[in-house]
Amino acid sequence: MSAVRTVMLIAGREVRQRLRSKLFIWTTVLISVLMVGASLIPTIVSVFSIDDEVVDREPLTVAVVGDLDDARTDALEAQLGPVDFDPVADTQAASELLTDPDSSVFLAIIDGREVLVVEETGPFVGPNRGRALSIAEALAVVDLLETAGASEIVEQVLTVEPLPVQVVGADDPEEEFAGILVANIGVVFIFGLLMFYASMIVNGIIEEKGSRVVELLVEAVPVKQLMSGKVLGMGLIAIGQATVMFVPAATVLVVVNRDLIPAGVGRLAVMTVVWFLLGYAFYSLLCAGLGSLVSRPEEAQAVLTPATMLALAGYFIGFASIQAPDATWSVVAGWLPPTAPFVMLVRQAVGDPSLFEVLGSMVLLLLAIVGAALAAARIYEGGILRVGARVKMREAWKSRAL
């Protein structure tokens, strides 16, 4: 029997046993449904809010001196929506109305040719000035079209659909936002799932050790294959569970609310998955080795401390480097295998690492995974059959009971 078949057999058992747990299935489905629900919230909100606008929104009041013909009324409504008109006597009366602090009127049209707007305090152009400018522009367009004898297309001009706008350049604010979003979510996601599945592996190992079934297994299976099968099986469960939890929601977002996904998220989402898988391989192997030292679930937490500390370090440095993705310490942490899955993802999301740095860090992490596999296998061999009190790491390393 080939080693591959054995490893697959062991991985297959892990997956089947997990799928048999109703709690596991329902938790996964529930989270998946909640995620889909969350991704639909913007759509639901917008459906209701459009109704609100139509029903509830108070028409703005605009002071008018003299007449306003239909074309100009349309031009005004194209800019402001439904409008109430408050006829006033002259320019003087209009400006008094605008400056009256009790009045909600902020705009006046004089004979369809002049626009008055109330002064706003503050350093920037306020919304009222902006509206006044666009109204003035619309009225000027109406003038121009009438002069050119093209009054019949006034309506079309006023309601014309703007051309699509493409934002380019490295400092695209949308992409920057996507980067910060992915960096924050990605670090939490990787850390949370790493810790969760690593502890599941350790529980599985303790179950085998505690129930002594491991003695039957090592008779027929080389321990390296036994360990690899468990790590692989749990990895498959992690991928499967994450797929069920996140893919439906992501699909809904892409189909229904495409506009809400900032540009650049897709690439970074893929990188998050890649860094998670690499990080998972590294940490789950470490945890498998450490977990083989204990026989009782209560001891798992303590024995995993070294791996947990490394992952926590990656988590915090990852978060910190969102603020300084290209600082020297971020670059260094991006190269170090235990912190790379967190920090390199952040650097790719909000910083500017070279392709060499990204690939180099991945290669280094892969080498570390091989190292972790060898070390874990050796500890595992020394620890897995010594049921009872916690085995000292040094003893397990030296003894290799098998």
């Binding site: 008779e219 027929a220 098998l402």
Partner: protein, 311 residues
């Protein structure tokens, strides 16, 4: 042939195996005996490759016990071990497949052993829901499912009720007759005596008695119990060939050396008076066991004393 040759293994300061040597042939059902702490479990774990000896060798058919051999070996560990939440049939199929069986073969074999061991209605129950006795039957099935050519069972009879004991005995005999080399450890000496053709008795990590049970008994001699009218004074007149083991108010027991004739002793006793009761019996295995295990302690004591004297 399973051959233990000069096996050594220590755990820290404790010497578990101290030059253990013996063999189990295909078709042989060998009872592996010894007091607590004699090294039985360590020897069996060495035989299935779960631990490595410090010195000496174990071979099967003159080759090392490698993975290929281990997958043709059935093992029942001292501490029973199965996945508690896995169902009986599923678990046996899984273990069968780990021992290189095709899925269909493993399923058929699992069903066969489940029926054979009287677990038919528990086939789809998780192991943890079974009684301890039934769990032990599953454990036996787990060691048999891949049709091994070598069976190494650590105390398979402990905790079994009489019916389960019969089932276990039948299965072990059947396997041995099918050509499997079977070794199992036990403290139930009478059961071993009835069941096994051969025994290996170890003490302090080395073999103190081993071989065919009938021959071992014969080599120890026979006991002759005689009661005659007129007391036991005759027992002081028997020759050097026989040894008086015990004397009570009505009679005496004499140990006859292997091959010795009982007639001269009977003659002497009959001169005392009319024969009331006579029986000639072979020694029990338990007697051989106590003798063998006790002897080593004496020998070690003697050896220690000799060494002290040399100094």
């Amino acid at each position: 042939m399973l051959e233990f040759r000069d096996l050594y293994r220590s755990f820290g300061d404790v010497i578990a195996l101290d030059g253990l040597s013996f063999t189990v042939a295909p078709g042989e059902l060998c009872g592996f005996l010894g007091p607590n702490g004699a090294g039985k479990t360590t020897a069996m774990r060495c035989a299935v490759g779960v631990i490595q000896p410090d010195g000496g060798s174990i071979t099967w058919q003159d080759g090392p016990i490698d993975l290929r051999v281990r997958r043709r070996t059935g093992y029942m560990p001292e501490e029973r071990g199965l996945y508690p939440k896995m169902r009986v049939h599923e678990q046996l199929v899984y273990l069968g497949r780990l021992h290189e069986m095709a899925t269909a073969d493993a399923a058929a074999s699992a069903s066969h052993w489940i029926d054979r061991l009287g677990l038919g209605d528990r086939s789809d129950s998780p192991v943890e829901e079974l009684s301890l006795g039934n769990q032990q039957r599953v454990q036996l099935a787990a060691s048999l499912v891949h049709d091994p050519e070598l069976l190494v069972l650590d105390e398979p009879f402990s905790g079994l009720d009489p019916i389960a004991t019969d089932v276990m005995s039948d299965v072990l005999l059947e396997r041995a007759r099918a050509g499997v080399a079977v070794m199992f450890s036990s403290h139930q000496l009478d059961l071993v005596e009835d069941l096994c053709e051969t025994v290996a008795v170890i003490s302090k990590g080395r073999l103190v008695l081993g071989g065919n049970v009938a021959e071992l008994k014969a080599s120890r001699g026979r006991r002759l119990r005689i009661e005659v009218d007129g007391g036991t004074a005759w027992s002081q007149r028997i020759g050097v060939d026989a040894e008086v083991v015990s004397v009570d108010e009505v009679g005496a027991t004499v140990l006859l050396p292997p091959g010795a004739d009982a007639a001269p002793v009977l003659d002497i006793a009959q001169q005392q008076g009319r024969l009331l009761d006579v029986h000639l019996e072979q020694p029990r295995l338990s007697e051989l066991f106590r003798n063998a295990v006790g002897t080593t302690e004496d020998t070690l004591g003697d050896e220690f004393q000799r060494r002290s004297e040399v100094r």
